[in-house]
């Protein structure tokens, strides 16, 4: 394993954090974790819940994996990662079931499936197992936020276009007069997820191209 020997600074922490949100945004740039992205972005509530869950698991697993990176034998590193991630996901689903049961029900199978979420396993393998604890924390928060922000953008567009109104935690924020009477229901359905993600991905590409020029 390669170990980064550079000294840890606050600047590096923030840089690592920001990198996860924009430069290596897991959904739009790395195109990871699309399965939960497609499934739970029907409403902004679900997106927030899923995002919070992923941040929690990613942060926890990154810290633990980074802590045990020196005693983890290389040959069993993937099972070790999976065990750690599964433990955090179990804790998360217990917490969700106890404190926010409606969210637990609406996320359904996608909550336990965070175990095999490629974003989390990917960060453990690529980053946390090779970097010190604080940097791994920054990476966990950054990538988790990146995932959450993408989920929020997608679900915002899908909910507004698909139902004509926006609801957060049971509170109706606004309703668009004409659209809420005859909403574009396709955006709530699976094809809508693909359309929205494709358009946003194209936008991210365009921004990247413009920036390089």
């Amino acid at each position: 394993m390669i170990e980064t020997k550079e000294k840890f600074t606050a600047k590096k922490f923030w840089k690592e954090l920001a990198k996860g949100i924009v430069l290596t945004n897991p959904v739009f740039v790395l195109i990871l974790g699309l399965c939960p992205t497609l499934a739970v972005t029907t409403s902004i509530n679900n997106a927030l819940g899923m995002g919070a869950g992923v941040i929690f698991v990613l942060l926890g697993s990154n810290i633990i994996i980074s802590l045990i990176r020196k005693i983890t034998p290389n040959m069993v590193r993937i099972p070790v990662f999976i065990v750690v991630i599964a433990a955090f996901v179990t804790i998360l689903s217990l917490l969700f079931e106890a404190y926010i049961p409606p969210l637990y029900e609406s996320l359904g199978i996608y909550l336990p499936l965070i175990v095999v979420n490629c974003i989390i396993l990917g960060r453990a393998e690529v980053f946390a197992s090779k970097n010190p604890v604080l940097l791994s924390m920054a990476d966990g928060i950054g990538v988790g936020l990146g995932f959450t922000v993408s989920l929020i953008i997608i679900s915002f567009l899908r909910e507004v276009l698909g139902t004509g109104s926006l609801e957060i935690f049971g509170k109706k924020l606004f309703a668009i007069p004409v659209l809420s009477q005859s909403p574009l229901t396709i955006f709530i359905m699976p094809p809508g997820a693909f359309i929205v993600i494709a358009l946003l991905m194209a936008l991210f590409r365009l921004l990247g191209v413009l920036k390089n020029e």
Partner: protein, 282 residues
């Protein structure tokens, strides 16, 4: 070789302890959920969905919240079993009048209807009913393709091969009403379980449907049953052109059953018996 295994096991144990600690700090289950679990043990657990809730546990939750849900969304399977009913009454503190709520489904068609063509399409009544209003001469006859068989949670429905219609075993039927909703021709009806006479024809009036007419085995509109009834329990519905039985007035004298020339009015208990008159005509 042993070191990685030990390390992995140790990490697993540590993670397990972490989960255990979290689990211990969680708040206890809310009282409503405990009540729902208690109620759900008293329910059949078949998850048939006939009560209108997605599964028995959702029904138990609704019952725990408001016990009067039992009257609007009745679990008919419980009604059939005295032990289950007693248990549920005890845990919900509810008085249930079993006889008044018990119902049976009947297929309101005597069968033997002629086909006007050969149907080779998808084997479901819903599809067959969409093509030129079905392949039977009577637009209200049972198509006998068995949509109701598939939905019945009690396996009470089967096809009578001779008559080409669905027949319901009233001993197995709990009156849940799933088949009533499923039938595309709306010819399955719920009657009280203690009803004596049932009317087995669904032909409503003579609507002008080209090429369609009433089959020879249905109601002849002779109105003998209305005259035969001494208690005025049977009235003639002029719009639908069928007799209607008021089960509150019926004294089970069976005069109407004897009077009916086509054996369309029958006793609920021998509803599926092949009538003599019909077989003689053939």
């Amino acid at each position: 070789m042993w070191i990685p295994i030990l390390i992995l096991t140790a990490i697993g144990v540590v993670c397990g302890v972490l989960i255990w600690v979290t689990n211990r700090t969680l708040p206890p289950e809310p009282a409503s959920l405990q009540k729902a679990e208690e109620v759900s043990e008293k329910l059949p657990g078949m998850n048939c969905g006939a009560c209108g809730f997605p599964g028995c546990f959702a029904y138990a939750q609704a019952l725990a919240k408001d016990k009067n849900v039992f009257f609007s969304n009745t679990c008919t399977t419980v009604l059939q079993n005295q032990d289950m009913l007693d248990n549920l009454e005890k845990s919900l503190d509810l008085k249930i009048d079993k006889d008044a709520m018990n119902k049976k489904a009947i297929v309101c068609c005597t069968g033997d209807c002629e086909n006007i063509g050969t149907y080779l399409g998808v084997g479901s009544c819903k599809s067959a009913n969409k093509i030129l209003r079905g392949f039977k001469k009577c637009p209200y006859g049972c198509l006998g393709l068995g949509d109701c068989i598939k939905i019945c949670p009690q396996n009470a429905i089967s096809i009578d091969i001779d008559r080409q219609i669905s027949v319901i075993d009233i001993n197995k039927c709990t009156g849940c009403g799933l088949c009533v909703k499923e039938c595309p021709r709306k010819i399955i009806k719920l009657v009280p379980a203690d009803a004596k006479a049932v009317f087995l024809c669904s032909y409503e009036g003579l609507k002008n449907i080209p090429g369609r007419e009433k089959c020879d085995f249905g109601c002849k509109r002779c109105r003998k049953c209305v005259k035969a009834c001494e208690n005025n329990a049977i009235t003639w519905n002029e719009v639908k052109s069928i007799p209607e039985i008021d089960y509150n007035k019926c004294t089970s004298c069976e005069a109407c059953i004897k009077a009916c020339p086509n054996n369309v009015l029958r006793k609920l208990t021998d509803i599926n018996a092949k009538p003599e008159t019909v077989s003689n005509k053939k």
